[in-house]
């Protein structure tokens, strides 16, 4: 075959393959169709909430000079936090449609990254130097807090994020709306200990920070004089059966297996345990917040009702009928179900976090009297004190502290025939965890938030 002919052949072949694949995939459902994601409507009819409640001037589009904000989220195969940023974007769009911030619309720049430190550092520079963002909201990344914390410190940016890396809670320039893997695992372990288990098996995914995460449960178990077995698994999990068998064997009939994985991996382990008929061979199963999605509840059968106890960092959306929760659902329906910033995971903790972060940011921005500059915006973020987000157990405070764990009280939920039901209301994460103790020493214990009556 001649050179040109072979060139043509290869290009044609590849094009045909790609085309065939696309066509075939098109015949199947699009992967993000609502039927395969979590619940959409709340069980009880919501009080009529208009999305315009998000802004101060209903129906008036903001037309002033935009306020630029930015966010960095992980988006790679296996882990994607774009839902959080997209929900924040949806909130901002709602605000822009209803008066903006004192007439100024918010322009939100989202940078995605693939857990590459240089890329993450570059994204931060892109946001600050090129996009000229005045504040950072909505960061959710496996390592961004570690990589950028000194940069934000140098610039004087106080970011509002949903953290994962240790630095999201241990540095002065980051305050999270969530509790993160360590404190959420603490919550799950605490619940198990409260049920008087004789042994804890704590299994987590082998991503950066396992030692940091494990230290919390280790401290809790030690204080309760309960032996704890620490395990890690390489993710994505390739032999879920083996993992489940190992966990159950290690825990024993009076023990508890506590998982800290992303939802797909946690689901695969739990389903394996069910397949092998060993889910009842331990006293109970626990899971940190990522398990708290209706999707997981629906995928697990009824065998897990009151068997799996999930720590919920945010107020459970199902069975909660407050104006803020309904506003969140309404904004999702109107702004988050289509368009470039589609929230594919639906109602659940990810989009809740995005909503909460955006909510806090707008609340802070509305207190600014003069010009919107990086200095004024970040001062406003830092000044947020005792704010009732309507999504958390406690009032949320940023504050001038060397570390921030503003969300340190949680719920415990369990699957109940396809939905997550609350088993235990707001419960403090124990100060036995040294980091929690250190934070409470500087910041005290935040007041419980009353249910929001009006936004």
């Amino acid at each position: 075959m001649s050179r040109t002919a072979s060139m043509r052949a290869s290009v044609v072949f590849m094009a045909v393959t790609a085309g065939a694949a696309l066509a075939l995939a098109g015949c199947g459902s699009s992967p993000s169709s609502p039927s395969s994601t979590s619940s959409t409507t709340p069980p009880s009819s919501s009080t009529a909430v208009k999305t315009s409640d998000c802004g101060t001037k209903p129906g008036v589009k903001a037309t002033g000079t935009p306020i630029a904000l930015g966010g960095i989220v992980t988006d790679q195969s296996g882990t994607s936090f774009t839902d959080i940023a997209n929900m924040a974007a949806a909130y901002f769009t709602c605000v822009n449609d209803n008066g903006g911030v004192n007439g100024h619309p918010i322009k939100y720049y989202i940078e995605t990254e693939q857990t590459n430190p240089t890329q993450i550092a570059a994204d931060a520079k892109q946001l600050v130097d090129t996009d000229h963002v005045l504040g950072i909201v909505g960061n959710t990344s496996i390592i961004e807090c570690s990589v950028d914390s000194s940069y934000w410190q140098k610039l004087g940016y106080y970011i509002i994020d949903s953290g994962i890396a240790p630095e999201c809670w241990s540095t002065p320039n980051s305050a999270a709306v969530n509790m993160g893997p360590r404190y959420s695992s603490d919550g799950a372990v605490q619940y198990a200990l409260s049920q008087h288990v004789k042994k804890i098996v704590f299994d987590q995914s082998n991503v950066p920070g396992t030692g940091y995460i494990a230290a919390g449960p280790a401290a809790l178990a030690k204080a309760a004089h309960v032996p704890i077995q620490q395990l890690t698994e390489n993710v994505p999990i390739t032999s879920a059966d083996s993992v489940a068998i190992k966990e159950v064997d290690d825990a024993g009939p009076d023990g508890a297996v506590i998982l800290n994985f992303t939802p797909p991996d946690a689901l695969v382990i739990l389903q394996a345990a069910q397949k092998l008929n060993i889910e009842d061979h331990v006293k109970l199963w626990g899971c940190s917040t990522p398990c708290n999605t209706d999707f997981l509840a629906a995928s697990l059968g009824p065998k897990w009702n009151n068997k799996l106890f999930v720590n919920a960092e945010l107020t459970p959306p199902d069975f909660t009928n407050t104006p803020t929760m309904n506003l969140y659902k309404a904004i999702y329906q109107q702004y988050g179900t289509s368009g470039p910033n589609k929230v594919t995971g639906g109602i659940g903790s990810f989009s809740q976090m995005g909503f909460t972060e955006a909510e806090i940011a707008v609340h802070a921005l509305e207190t600014i009297k003069g010009a919107f500059t990086a200095a004024s915006v970040n001062a406003a973020f830092k000044a947020v004190t005792d704010y009732n987000t309507g999504m958390l157990c406690q009032l949320w405070t940023y504050g001038s502290y060397p570390m921030h764990i503003p969300n340190n009280e949680d719920y415990t939920v369990t699957p109940d025939n396809g939905k997550m039901k609350t088993v235990q209301g707001c419960n403090e994460i124990s100060s036995v965890d040294p980091q929690i103790a250190a934070y409470r020493k500087v910041a005290g214990v935040a007041t419980l938030a009353p249910p929001r009556s009006a936004p």
Partner: protein, 361 residues
């Protein structure tokens, strides 16, 4: 007939020998201008985002250079160069945390240790031929990735592995004191890259390069001509490992934080793809490969286009290069085969059978 061809060939050869002087000068001049531009002007013109991307280009150009030596010069395919990069980064990070040695020394040590490891692994593997060698590099790379996932990268902790998993505040890997800012570190990376390219260039122009050419043409023939093929193949492995190890050290300083998830198996495959596309044989090909694998993704990320399109493009590129290349993977073989024959003859120091080797198909 044979005599006429010979005379014509040697006449052409002599004529060609006069012109290269000016040609080389011009080419050299262009390269120097480009390098000066890259070093001095580029950081001023680009935003920090792109300066960071170009630092990665410099690093991966060196990695591509190493793979190019193996694939293009010797005809060995390694599917595990990213694992080698990871080892280099690991060593550099460990030294940077544990000692206060100056940066160039750390880079050198990282390169040497990686070279040692590469050679030790290469020695038994070189007994295997083409396909098996490539597959065993894939196996070793897979094993290294799993070990790294468990031992992690040094982060300032103690012990041999230097990893402390419980840190709430992870210290960054330091940069050289003269190059702490991003533009300065970019220049540092480019200088290191230039040095590595020079190192490889010198190799190519001297005895190892000629031996590699001979081995690539036909290993049995090279053996018959008295070339110690095992030694030269090992030398190629060592050189590739050394430059990749140094690149790993530069990577450590660029990233400040190292994670095992940053060195996945598929990156080795993509590296091979861009090296093939850029041209495994030429030094410029390594630069092109660096641009393809690091600058394009940065651009696409900025434009909101998914990197998956690049993956697809690279896949098409691989097949493209392989099907249109006339001979083997090292396809840009110099057309002047007579010259090659003469080089071979000089190498072997045998006055007799020059023509037979020269007239390769």
């Amino acid at each position: 007939m044979l005599e006429t061809t010979e005379v014509a060939a040697s006449t052409r050869h002599r004529t060609r020998l006069r012109r290269p002087a000016t040609r080389t000068l011009v080419r050299g001049g262009v390269i120097v201008v480009l390098l000066l531009f890259a070093l001095l002007a580029l950081p001023q013109l680009l935003s920090l985002y792109y300066v960071d991307a170009m630092t990665e280009v410099a690093i991966y150009a060196v990695v591509s250079l190493g793979l190019g030596v193996l694939v293009g010069r010797v005809g060995l395919v390694s599917l595990g160069q990213i694992a080698v990069l990871a080892v280099g980064a690991w060593v550099a990070a460990r030294l940077l945390f544990a000692t206060t040695q100056p940066y160039p020394l750390v880079l050198l040590e990282a390169g040497l240790v990686t070279m040692a490891i590469g050679t030790i692994i290469g020695l038994p593997a070189l007994r295997l031929r083409g396909l098996y060698l490539a597959l065993i590099t894939l196996m070793v790379a897979g094993a290294v990735a799993i070990v790294l996932a468990s031992t992690n990268f040094p982060n300032g902790g103690h012990g041999f592995f230097g990893y402390n998993g419980s840190l709430v505040n992870i210290p960054p890997i330091r940069r050289p004191s003269i190059a702490t800012s991003d533009p300065a570190y970019y220049r540092y990376a480019v200088v290191v890259a230039i040095l590595m390219f020079l190192l490889v260039f010198v190799h190519i122009r001297t005895r190892p390069g000629r031996a590699w050419s001979a081995i690539r043409q036909s290993e049995p023939a090279a053996l018959a001509a008295g070339i110690n093929t095992t030694m030269y193949k090992l030398w190629a492995f060592a050189l590739a490992s050394f430059v990749t190890g140094v690149a790993g050290g530069v990577y450590a300083g660029a990233a400040h934080y190292l994670y095992s998830i940053d060195f996945p198996a598929q990156n080795s495959i993509i590296l091979l793809a861009v090296v093939l596309m850029g041209g495994a044989y030429s030094l410029w090909g390594a630069v092109v490969a660096g641009l393809l694998s690091q600058l394009l993704p940065a651009l696409l990320n900025n434009w909101g286009v998914s990197n998956d399109w690049l993956t697809i493009l690279f896949g098409i590129g691989v097949v493209q290069v392989l099907t249109t290349a006339p001979r083997g993977l090292a396809d840009q073989v110099p057309k002047d085969l007579a010259r090659l024959g003469l080089l071979l003859a000089r190498l072997v120091h045998r006055p007799a059978a020059t023509t037979a080797e020269g007239e390769a198909p």
